[in-house]
Subunit: 403 residues, 2 copies
């Protein structure tokens, strides 16, 4: 049975499920460090949880595959990350809570600087501020002439040099290549359709680019744009529709809030640090069935290559585990969306340690929460997408399959 | 390669395979018990088998999914439990050895009691005896007028308040919802088709129900019926057709005999207890290639929540292992169809320990047959449906795939 086809077994219950996700949690040993980030970190509470619970290793997509943040999180929530793969444009727009319609083709904008001959000199437009970004987007929005095939065209700023554009038109398709050549000294690429259905979108995009080039021609830095991650918006079945889980996302960063919104979770605003996230969990605990708590700094410090700082973030999160346990959730899961070893300074393919606690989880012999100990855990090694069905089973929210 | 698509590799041999299936074998730790049922049980012979063999954990369907008995057994015999999922009606009728034809739509009958206003007052008709059941079925069969669309309509008693009805008609489809509302104080539900092909079956079923209501109107207890588990019978390829295994089922309970018959196994009658089953194995050992021995009480005691009694059943089965080994089968497998932890008093999703012995199984380091030890076994954790291909390989009954 595919893990993402078990909705018909879902039953209602009042049990609560908490997914504490440390972004980029998994690591590898850094020479001289004496182990991975999790092995080196002092985590008495997570170790206790591992002793009482069941552990394992999760492959976000499949063995050897390094995931982006979108598919990695989709898998965590039981949405097959390949079947439900979404374009970066949609992810970016979801992060700013853009109100999609089913007629929307979305792309991410990177403002850039081009020379007189049209070749790119700075792919980030001299790192313009978010304020400059806002005024540039406003300038485009006010001057742009909507292509006759479109009902609407919308430009929304995101942050620094990043923005999104939404081409809204009935039946419009969006399988287009990026116009970003990923290097300077060359001209932006021409928009190109990846399939027959998207061919009619090409002149619409070309018209947009050429109008923007005119509108921004007097800008000192952001005088051009590159388009990436074209995607048509598709509505996803929500966590409530699929799993009967009234779900709350507690996250500080736009992208993760965006992913949560795409899956129909309610999203708390105003999270500033780890402490505020755990406080929010307590404050809102009575009102939801499922809680997604997203901890970003584990990933950020991993990307920095700062082993010690990543260890410290893990230790800080560990200190909140007793407060979470005090809420007595039916199921508590601690894991990551993927690995971000400080050694590699990037997302990686290494499977991610997971611990799940419930009163009937059938605890295993693992007593330390780290990559090497979890190899011998009772969950074994499996694809992340199966995690949700195990969590629902432990929460007594799944009926029997077959007679 | 899908586990159920390897038939083309099957070769004939004279090696024998024994599957000793303890129903609901897997458990979890009961507070104060000091471990799971298998951990606590004294099983010197199973432990010796684990030491000499290869161990692992099996997911009957997929991680987190609790199986019914039908799909759980289909998986054990190498039949994909989702692809080959069958309705309860067919399973129930197979249990009484009903001679199906390809034109049969089958449903399970629960006789019930309704008040004058048609609302259900007892969903089990005051638990009528099996003898009353026989005479009620006879009464219906003698008076019922076959719907013109049908070639035949057959009512067969099963046990207590349970029976089956077979609607036999060329091309008839059977995707209908249950008429059992699963509660008293309301009227039975009207039959309803789940798809267009089954729409024509609805008036046939309605006619049957309304005739039965008339026929039983003078009955004090069983004056109505509820229909469940509608299913069209499909013939399954047999164990012999797929695996060239002349197969014998040794089971005491009707449902498991029924499953075995659906897969073309021969079925021994007259099994009364565990001792008689092992005796039957010895008596019939010369005449078959594959033996399915089904031990029911592990599941029954688990469903009772009687941890100690389940432990005792396991210990009783353990005492027969030397006699089974004395037969020198090419492959001996001991496992369960699913877990039934006494703690939960029901089937559960927890993976099931398995041990397989053959002279070339590549033994692992496991020395005790229980859930926690098997985590570190050489089979690892996998879906049950792969077990049959491993057994056939160990029995030297599978050719090489590809050149």
């Amino acid at each position: 049975m595919k893990s993402h086809h078990f909705e018909e077994l879902v039953i209602e219950n009042t049990t609560k499920i908490i997914f504490l996700i440390m972004d980029g949690l998994g690591g590898v040993e850094m020479p001289g460090s004496g182990g991975t980030e999790l092995q080196v970190a002092c985590t008495p509470h997570l170790d206790r949880l591992a002793s009482d619970g069941i552990c394992g290793l999760l492959d976000p997509i499949a063995p050897g595959i390094t995931p982006g943040s979108g598919p990695a999180h989709f898998g965590l929530f039981g949405y097959d990350p390949v079947e439900y793969n979404i374009g970066r444009g949609v992810l970016e727009a979801a992060g700013i809570d853009f109100p999609f319609t089913p007629d929307d083709v979305v792309a991410r904008i990177n403002f850039c600087t081009v020379a007189d001959d049209g070749t790119i000199t700075d792919r980030r437009a001299g790192r313009i501020t978010s304020e400059e970004n806002v005024s540039i987007c406003k300038k485009i929005q006010e001057s742009i002439k909507k292509h006759p095939r479109l009902d609407e065209i919308i430009i929304e700023p995101v942050k620094e040099h990043r923005a999104v554009v939404v081409f809204r038109g009935k039946g419009l398709q969006g399988d287009l290549d990026d116009t970003d050549p990923q290097k300077t000294g060359v001209r932006p690429l021409e928009p190109k359709a990846r399939n027959q259905q998207s061919v009619e979108t090409v002149p619409i995009v070309s018209d947009f680019i050429s109008q923007v080039a005119d509108i921004l021609s007097d800008e000192p830095k952001a005088n051009m744009l590159l388009l990436r991650g074209f995607a048509k918006y598709h509505r996803f079945p929500s966590m409530f529709e699929r799993f009967k889980l009234k779900s709350l996302a507690i996250a500080a960063y736009p992208m993760y809030k965006g992913i949560a919104r795409l899956l129909g979770m309610e999203v708390l605003e105003g999270m500033t640090d780890i402490a505020s996230e755990f406080k929010a969990l307590e404050d809102n605990y009575a009102n939801y069935d499922f809680f997604f708590i997203h901890i970003k700094p584990t990933d950020s410090r991993g990307e920095d290559g700062d082993f010690e700082a990543k260890v410290k973030v893990i230790e800080e999160v560990d200190s909140y585990i007793p407060a979470v346990q005090k809420l007595s959730p039916g199921v508590l899961v601690v894991t990551g969306d993927h690995s971000t070893p400080a050694l590699l300074k990037s997302h990686s393919w290494h499977p991610v340690p997971v611990v799940l606690y419930s009163q009937c989880c059938r605890k295993d012999a693992v007593t330390h929460f780290d990559e090497l100990s979890c190899i011998n855990g009772g969950i074994g090694r499996m694809e992340t997408v199966f995690l949700m069905s195990i969590a629902l089973a432990n929460a007594d929210r799944l009926a029997k399959f077959g007679a």
